[in-house]
Every structure is written in structure tokens, then in C-alpha cells.
């Protein structure tokens, strides 16, 4: 099936965004305290669809919320009543504006873990009902390395509509899926030239090449995968984790980290069970009730994080659990770069052999 690409200008894009907001439930980056988080918006003036990548949190919470209610229960004299919670506010038909390329990519990675064995139907429903409009960045940020973790950029279909600011000054809106095509067809009001994907391809490619050329960081991830897989016991992990303060913020902002914890909270006889984020850098993450902890020291937890991202997940699901968005590096209070660390460790491993 081939999809249409709409060619328009800046004003046309604005109009399109406004039309989307008028007709659908829309989530877009909203600035609070100098940081952008995806929130529900009603007007274009409230949000910034082209928020700087360094200051924007990921769209993961819209699919895997920071805290989700699992159930509610009430203890009565007759017994315990367990009720599932009210309707999921994230499962309605909605549109996400201003997602980044890496955000969309992260959903593709997360699909793997949520769709193996027990299927996470809530996540699936949220995915199905969401149309993602993603703007391709014009320039890479200091910590970006998404192009290194090679994926099929031209056909990435985790996003539904791709917005590209062409080098020729025009704006290209490319439908990537049937959902995107439908949204564009229904809401695009202003005049636009409709072309096929192939016709727009040269301009898109030009923009992509300019974008790809702006990357400072480049990594051969296949080499990293192979090298890291062999060096579980390297002392290098102990060295690189030395300046980590175990603050866990990397996992909370990471678009692909998906560990969670289940906890209860109650007031009197009413209780709620929550599912909320957790981080493997946390010392209690694997601590068992008897006091046994398989990863009692910092470097082991650090190793788990790095290895899970670049080795274990790859082995199990065939993808790197990292999309190269650099959010962890930006958020890190001590500026530890996962790119740097992984390269350093695998290089050290290479020297050792």
C-alpha cells in the first residue's frame, strides 16, 4: 500500500496542527520549569511541537504511564471487593504532536517486550488508538547518536505521520501508516500538493543526509554488541561506574527502560495497587526479603543496565534497548554518557584480548 505525502509550507503545517487539536484529543510537549513534558493540550499556543530534544522528556509515559492503577480494593466485613479501575484515560483515540524520531523508534523496541508471551493488552490498545506525528530533527544534539543504532529510517512505521522541513523551504508531511493517511486526509484543510512517497523522496533524503551528517557521535553497535557479550567479568565496569551516584534518573527518562514495581497504598479499608517505574540502578531492585541480593554493589547494577541495553535485550528480542536519544546523558547530574561508557568498556575489552 502506498501512502501520500503532503507538501505545504509553515502556515499550512500550523493550520494542520490546529485542525488536529480541534478535532482530536491531543498530547504535545508543554513547557514547565524549563523542561518539556507531553501533556494534553487544547490550543497550539500552549505547546511547542518543535521543542528542543535536549529539554524534552520522552513519550513513553503516554504508553507506559509513570504510575498506573492496577486495581482498587475495599475490605468489608463480608469480604474483600476487588475492582478493576475505571477506564484507561490513555486508551482513547488520540494524537501525539511533536514526538521525536527516537521516541517513535523506542515504541518499536518496547513492542517486542510487551508482545512476548503474556501480551500487554493495555499497551497495545494505547498503541492502536494513537496517531503519532513526529518531526524529524534538523540537527543532532550534542548527545544524540540515534543514527548509529541503525534502523530503517525511511520505513520506520512506529510513527504515523512524519513531518520534515525540507531543504527547499517546504514542509513535507509523509503518511507512514493507514492511521496517518486517514488523519491527514481528514484534517488537512489548507491547500497542499499531494505527491507520492517516491516523488518526495529526493527532498526527504537530502534533509536526512544533512541531518545524519550533523552527528558528532558515531558507534558501530554490532561491534559493541559482540564485544560486550564477551566481557561480563571485566574490571572496566567497576572503573566506569565510579562516578555514578545511583540517582536512577537515567532509567526514569529513558524512552526504552521498562522495569516497574508493583506497590500497594491504602487509606483505612480502601487500597490501591499501583504499577510504577523502577530502576535497576536502585540498590533495592533485586534485594530479596531474606537479605540476599544478587547485585549488591554499584558496578554490578551498572553492568546490568549497560548489558541489558546492548547485549541481553539484543539476544532475546533482536533489538538494542537503546535508541540513542541521549536523554540519560542530558539528565545525568554528573554528565555520564552511556555512549562514552559503552564505547570505553568495549574498547578496553578489545585491548584485553
Amino acid at each position: 500500500m502506498s501512502f501520500t505525502t503532503f507538501v505545504t509550507d509553515k502556515a499550512g503545517l500550523q493550520k494542520f496542527y490546529e485542525a488536529v487539536m480541534a478535532s482530536r484529543e491531543t498530547y504535545a510537549p508543554v513547557e514547565k520549569f524549563g523542561k518539556f513534558d507531553f501533556k494534553r493540550v487544547a490550543r497550539l499556543s500552549e505547546c511547542d511541537p518543535v521543542s528542543p530534544i535536549a529539554k524534552t522528556l520522552s513519550i513513553k509515559p503516554l504508553f507506559f504511564p509513570r504510575t498506573a492503577k492496577v486495581m482498587k480494593y475495599v475490605a468489608t466485613s463480608a469480604g474483600t471487593d476487588v475492582s478493576e479501575v475505571d477506564e484507561d484515560p490513555l486508551a482513547v483515540k488520540r494524537v501525539i504532536l511533536g514526538a521525536k524520531h527516537c521516541d517513535a523508534r523506542s515504541l518499536q523496541v518496547l513492542d517486542k517486550v510487551y508482545n512476548w508471551d503474556y501480551i500487554d493488552t493495555d499497551y497495545q490498545k494505547r498503541r492502536e488508538n494513537t496517531v503519532i506525528i513526529s518531526t524529524r530533527c534538523d540537527k543532532a544534539d550534542t548527545h544524540c547518536f540515534c543514527t548509529s543504532l541503525d534502523y530503517d529510517v525511511e520505513n520506520l512505521d512506529a510513527l504515523d505521520v512524519l513531518v520534515v522541513n525540507g531543504a527547499d523551504g517546504k514542509t513535507y508531511l509523509e503518511a507512514r501508516t493507514a492511521k496517518g493517511e486517514a488523519l491527514l486526509g481528514e484534517t488537512f484543510t489548507s491547500d497542499a500538493v499531494r505527491v507520492t512517497k517516491e516523488e518526495a523522496a529526493p527532498e526527504m533524503k537530502k534533509q536526512y543526509d544533512a541531518f545524519a551528517a550533523s552527528f558528532r557521535l558515531k558507534m558501530d553497535y554490532k561491534e559493541v554488541n559482540a564485544k560486550l557479550a564477551k566481557i561480563f567479568d571485566t574490571p572496566e565496569f567497576e572503573n566506569v561506574s565510579g562516578n555514578c551516584v545511583s540517582c536512577n534518573t537515567c532509567a526514569f527518562v529513558c524512552p526504552t527502560c521498562h522495569c516497574f514495581k508493583i506497590s500497594d497504598e491504602k487509606v483505612k479499608d480502601t487500597g490501591v495497587r499501583y504499577k510504577s517505574y523502577d530502576s535497576c540502578n536502585n540498590g533495592y531492585f533485586t534485594l530479596m526479603a531474606g537479605g540476599h541480593n544478587p547485585r549488591p554493589v554499584k558496578y554490578r547494577r551498572w553492568r546490568q543496565r549497560a548489558m541489558h541495553k546492548f547485549v541481553y535485550y539484543k539476544e532475546r528480542f533482536g533489538e538494542n534497548l537503546c535508541v540513542g536519544c541521549g536523554k540519560c546523558t542530558i539528565s545525568c547530574p554528573v554528565n555520564i554518557s552511556i555512549f562514552e561508557v559503552v564505547s570505553q568498556v568495549s574498547a578496553a575489552a578489545g585491548n584485553r584480548q
Partner: protein
């Protein structure tokens, strides 16, 4: 997934105080008919929630061959288990999700000699398999149970052990760590008794072991020393788990999810995992 995390309500039928810090809870589903649908195999575990306190992972310590109930043996160790011990009594209600995980390789052990090596609360998962095997006794050959505890008071399932001892087709060896006045049989740690008293036959034997991490470590060492092949040594791993569905990432060891690919592993499989358990 949130609905997969919602437990079914079970009623506590009976509470058995096994030792000062271990209790066995006999559970049935509150809703009729669910108990018959609840099928599980020895070695699987459930997520047991004391509503208002939290959720914990426990193995099922009874066998599905004994119908109408299932058992969870709980040792007081952490926050939730302490709450369970202090507040959960007969007639109370708990939430259960499960069964999760894999089970003991029932096909592989058919027609083999069986040696069970348990320590402390580690007898709980073994009891499930022992009951299963006793109920299908004709499928198996020699049947040895070696069970060790710190003191005679710390032995769980005392009544059932008596039944096993009375059963002529089972060989039961008990041991405690330190000598006691009333204790007449073996004294010493499990690996020592294994080598000196039990002296198992190596051929055609499967060993199933469970206990505290340190006991498992030394038991496996001495089993290997005795000449058992790695694939004949079967153990269950203890790992922190929360969802049981292979999602929450807590039980990751390498690319293995203990809650899905485990908790039953052979020593051969364990050797291929990174040393993080």
C-alpha cells in the same frame, strides 16, 4: 497488562504453624469452580498478595494431584511476610495470581531414581514434586529424600515427614546442623550427610535440590564431586520477582527471565548464565 496484575481472591482454609517462623497456608478460591480450573505443576509459583500490604512470590508447596486446595509455605523474612504472619488467619482473604513459571521436568525424571535434597524452607517446592511423585509412585524407581534444617524445631512439614518415613517405599534421611539431646539420627550439614550417609547411586538418578543459596552452592559442588552430570542436577532459583509475566525486568539474569524461563533450572543451564544469582 494491568488486568493481568489483578489477583483472584482466595480464602485461607487452614493455617499450619510448621516452625516458629514458617507457616503453611491452605488456600481455596472464593469463587466456586475456579479451584477446578486452577491447574499447576510442581515447581510453579504464585503471586500472593496480602491486600493492603503488598505482593510476594511463593512457590506452591502442594501437588495438583491432591485436589481441592493448594498450599503456600511462608517464612517470615521481610515486610509483607511479617504482615502475613501477624495478621493472616483462617477465614481471611488473600489475592492470588498464577500459576507462573516453568515446572520440574516431569517427563525427564520418569523411570529414574530420584534424590531430593532440601534445606530449611527449601523443602516447600520439593514437597510439591514429592507429593506428585508419591501419587504416581509406580513411574519412579528408588526414592530418597534428604532434608536438613538448623535445628529439629526448624523442620517444616513434620507430620508429613513422619508419613514419608512410615512409607516403606521411600528412604528418608533427616539431619540437623548442631547436635541436640533428643536427636538420635544424623547431625551435620547437608552436603556432608549427602557424601557420608546417603551415598547415592549415580546411574540413572536425577537430583532435585532446593534450599538457601549457600546450601545449594555446596550441595551442587558435592554432587558434582560424587560424579553427577550437570544435566541431572535440578534446582529452583530464588530471585526477586514482581510481575511474574516477564515484563518487570526484576528477575533478569542475562537474557533469561527467571519468572518465565525458570525458576526450575538444571545445573547445566545455570552454568550458562552470568553469575548473578
Amino acid at each position: 497488562m494491568e488486568q493481568l496484575l489483578v489477583p483472584m481472591i482466595c480464602k485461607v482454609d487452614k493455617v499450619i504453624q510448621e516452625t516458629p517462623d514458617i507457616r503453611t497456608y491452605r488456600l481455596t478460591f472464593r469463587e466456586e469452580g475456579l479451584m477446578d480450573q486452577f491447574s499447576y505443576l510442581p515447581g510453579q509459583f504464585v503471586e500472593f498478595s496480602l491486600l493492603g500490604s503488598g505482593e510476594c512470590t511463593f512457590c506452591i508447596s502442594s501437588s495438583a494431584t491432591r485436589k481441592g486446595y493448594f498450599d503456600c509455605s511462608i517464612k517470615k523474612a521481610g515486610v509483607v511476610t511479617a504482615d502475613i504472619h501477624t495478621s493472616l488467619e483462617e477465614g481471611d482473604e488473600v489475592g492470588i495470581r498464577g500459576p507462573f513459571g516453568n515446572w520440574f521436568p516431569l517427563e525427564d525424571i520418569k523411570g529414574k531414581n530420584l534424590l531430593f535434597v532440601g534445606g530449611g524452607i527449601g523443602l516447600a517446592p520439593l514437597r510439591s514434586l514429592i507429593q506428585y511423585c508419591i501419587d504416581n509412585r509406580s513411574d519412579y524407581k528408588d526414592f530418597t529424600i534428604l532434608y536438613g534444617a538448623r535445628t529439629s524445631a526448624d523442620m517444616c512439614y513434620k507430620d508429613e515427614i513422619k508419613e514419608w518415613q512410615d512409607n516403606k517405599s521411600l528412604n528418608v534421611v533427616l539431619t540437623i546442623d548442631k547436635p541436640e539431646e533428643t536427636w538420635t539420627t544424623n547431625v551435620g550439614v547437608v552436603p556432608k550427610i549427602l557424601e557420608e550417609v546417603v551415598k547415592p547411586v549415580i546411574e540413572n538418578t536425577k537430583v532435585i535440590t532446593c534450599g538457601p543459596p549457600i546450601m545449594i552452592k555446596y550441595t551442587i559442588q558435592s554432587l558434582v564431586k560424587l560424579g553427577f552430570a550437570d544435566k541431572d542436577i535440578i534446582t529452583t532459583l530464588e530471585m526477586k520477582m514482581q510481575c511474574g509475566l516477564g515484563k518487570c525486568g526484576r528477575c533478569n539474569i542475562g537474557s533469561t527471565y527467571v519468572c518465565k524461563d525458570g525458576p526450575v533450572f538444571t545445573n547445566e543451564q545455570l552454568k550458562s548464565l552470568p553469575d548473578e544469582f
